[in-house]
């Protein structure tokens, strides 16, 4: 017999579950089903089971796209961590008023249009861009440096877009740190660096892992950055899915790639939950994800 009291208590939640079921659950199941279907010459979907879409993913050209995306996402996460950790650490140690200002400055880009923030790099790095103008103006170079449409340009744009996530995630864990542990370490004669590597860093690993997850996942799908800064030379999973849907009209293959992308996300989330559990003994239920 179903527990009637519990059912009655949970009844108001049913509309929420239905809402998410219809708008997230069913579409995702739909993508999985579609990825096993075929299409005719006109691009219409034909209800006939096939594994061809998944076989095509393992085509060397497409494997390269997967590796490209994985490489970009991993490198973006590392760069934002290396640049962002000191920002988060220093900010957490600022006095109250300056701290509030610094946090405001870190959070503000969240509100600012992401297209504008990407476009800014075109203005800076283009052949007639601000950086080249300045370098030529000061006679440091005499021909403009070519800085656009490279892998490194896309990497810069993606890291720039996502670094606030990394900083906030690390900041939260540095700020929560028990200061008495650091004092104890100093009292016992450990130096600054030793205290950092033996105490601060290990205790902030959940924050770093959270930041990694928050940076890694969106960097797989921000196709407008690689479109604008990469000029279509480097192809990533996001661009590929986008052009298969909008230009190629190969929806089943796009669905198969979307499934591949979601599996990559699941792997990252799995590693994240493992890392957090190991580092907190499973006690920290309020971790950011």
């Amino acid at each position: 017999m179903v527990d009637m009291k519990k059912f009655k208590q949970n009844a108001p939640a049913i509309p929420i579950l239905v809402w998410f079921g219809i708008l997230v659950g069913i579409p995702l199941i739909f993508v999985v089903i579609l990825s096993f279907l075929s299409r005719d010459e006109l691009g219409n979907i034909v209800v006939r089971f096939t594994l061809d879409n998944y076989k095509r993913i393992f085509d060397p050209i497409y494997i390269k796209v997967f590796i490209n995306s994985l490489f970009l996402a991993t490198l973006t996460s590392f760069i934002t961590m290396i640049i962002g950790y000191p920002v988060a650490y220093f900010t957490a140690n600022l006095e109250k008023k300056k701290k509030a200002l610094a946090i405001l400055l870190i959070m503000l880009p969240f509100w600012i249009s992401s297209l504008l923030r990407t476009y800014g790099w075109i203005i800076l790095l283009g052949n007639t861009g601000l950086v080249n103008n300045l370098l030529i103006g000061f006679n440091i170079i005499d021909k403009p440096l070519s800085m656009m449409y490279k892998f490194s340009t896309i990497l810069t744009g993606t890291a720039y877009m996502l670094i606030p996530f990394m900083i906030i995630a690390i900041y939260n864990s540095v700020d929560k740190l028990d200061r008495s542990l650091l004092e104890a370490s100093y009292d016992l004669g450990a130096g600054k660096w030793k205290t950092f590597f033996k105490i601060t860093l290990p205790l902030t690993i959940p924050g770093i892992a959270g930041g990694f997850t928050l940076v890694f996942i969106p960097s797989l799908g921000l196709f407008f950055i690689s479109d604008l800064l990469g000029g279509g030379k480097n192809i990533f999973l996001g661009n590929l899915i986008n052009s298969l849907i909008t230009k190629g009209r190969n929806k089943p293959l796009a669905a198969a790639f979307s499934v591949g992308m979601i599996i990559m996300v699941l792997i990252v989330l799995f590693i994240y939950s493992r890392l957090v559990k190991r580092n907190t003994g499973g006690a920290d239920e309020n971790s950011i994800i």
């Binding site: 579409p27 870190i106 249009s113 476009y119 103008n133």
Partner: protein, 266 residues
């Protein structure tokens, strides 16, 4: 020794913030450049702004974006707040399930989410336009409202609600007279955030826009793909001003509220 590390800290943070804001400021700067190329600064002008206001496609897509954003933020405010309040009353297990569901749209990469919605809506033969835009935008806005309202709910002193219960208040009375007024500032801030996110979305809108309902960011993206023109800079600058206006309103609201709270404590 101490001053040295202090200097290092200040230097690093300042350098970081300069790099964080230089791309944004240079977009603004070049929107006033007479020369259509960024190669040279030939003088100050407002011509590019004038040109914007005579561009019918831009004005039209701005209208679409505003309508979608306003509807999205109202809809998300209602749904997110209702979910957060419902989550207090259900069992612990159900609360966890709702929390997990709310994170789901934020964890799936936007492209995958957009594609899945596109395939689903088109198979349901829903016409693409305002409705699909609002539904899809609310998907990533509702969770933010939910999280922000939930944080505020957790701060509420439980004894107030217990007292109301003892005095015989019905559940909806408690919600109406105690809970809603207390979480109201969070609802306002989070719906303003929803407004900003909806106005900014490119990826999902690319798939959800109908033939006559292109949103501003989708149009701006196609303009940027063609190349750099000061007109795009001018448009971006205006969008930035709009964003600051929204942030300003939300700051006023949160300041007002924290003042009120201080008075209550006194």
């Amino acid at each position: 020794m101490k001053t040295q590390s202090y200097k290092l800290r200040t230097f690093y943070l300042s350098l970081f913030f300069v790099i964080l804001y230089v791309p944004i400021l240079s977009v603004v700067l070049y929107s006033f450049n007479k020369n259509p190329s960024t190669a040279q600064w030939t003088g100050f002008t407002l011509d590019w702004y004038r040109e914007l206001f005579s561009d019918r496609i831009i004005l039209e897509s701005f209208k679409v974006s505003m309508i979608v954003a306003i509807l999205t933020s109202i809809f998300s405010a209602i749904l997110g707040t209702a979910s957060a309040i419902i989550a207090i009353y259900v069992t612990k297990k159900m609360e966890k399930a709702i929390n997990g569901l709310m994170l789901l749209p934020l964890l799936v990469p936007e492209v995958a989410l957009g594609v899945s919605l596109l395939l689903f809506f088109s198979s349901m033969r829903l016409p693409f336009g305002y409705m699909t835009l609002v539904l899809s935008h609310s998907l990533f806005c509702v969770p933010y409202v939910y999280i922000m309202v939930q944080l505020r709910l957790k701060e509420i002193d439980n004894s107030i609600i217990e007292a109301a219960k003892d005095l015989g208040a019905a559940r909806w009375q408690i919600i109406k007279t105690i809970i809603l007024p207390l979480v109201f500032p969070s609802i306002i801030t989070s719906s303003l955030l929803s407004l900003a996110m909806s106005l900014d979305d490119v990826v999902i809108s690319t798939y959800m826009s109908g033939p006559t309902s292109t949103t501003l960011p989708v149009h701006v993206f196609s303009m940027m793909r063609v190349g750099v023109t000061p007109k795009v800079n001018a448009l971006c600058t205006l969008i930035l001003l709009g964003t600051f206006f929204i942030i300003g309103i939300s700051e006023v609201f949160s300041k007002k509220n924290s003042k009120k709270e201080e008075e209550e404590v006194d």
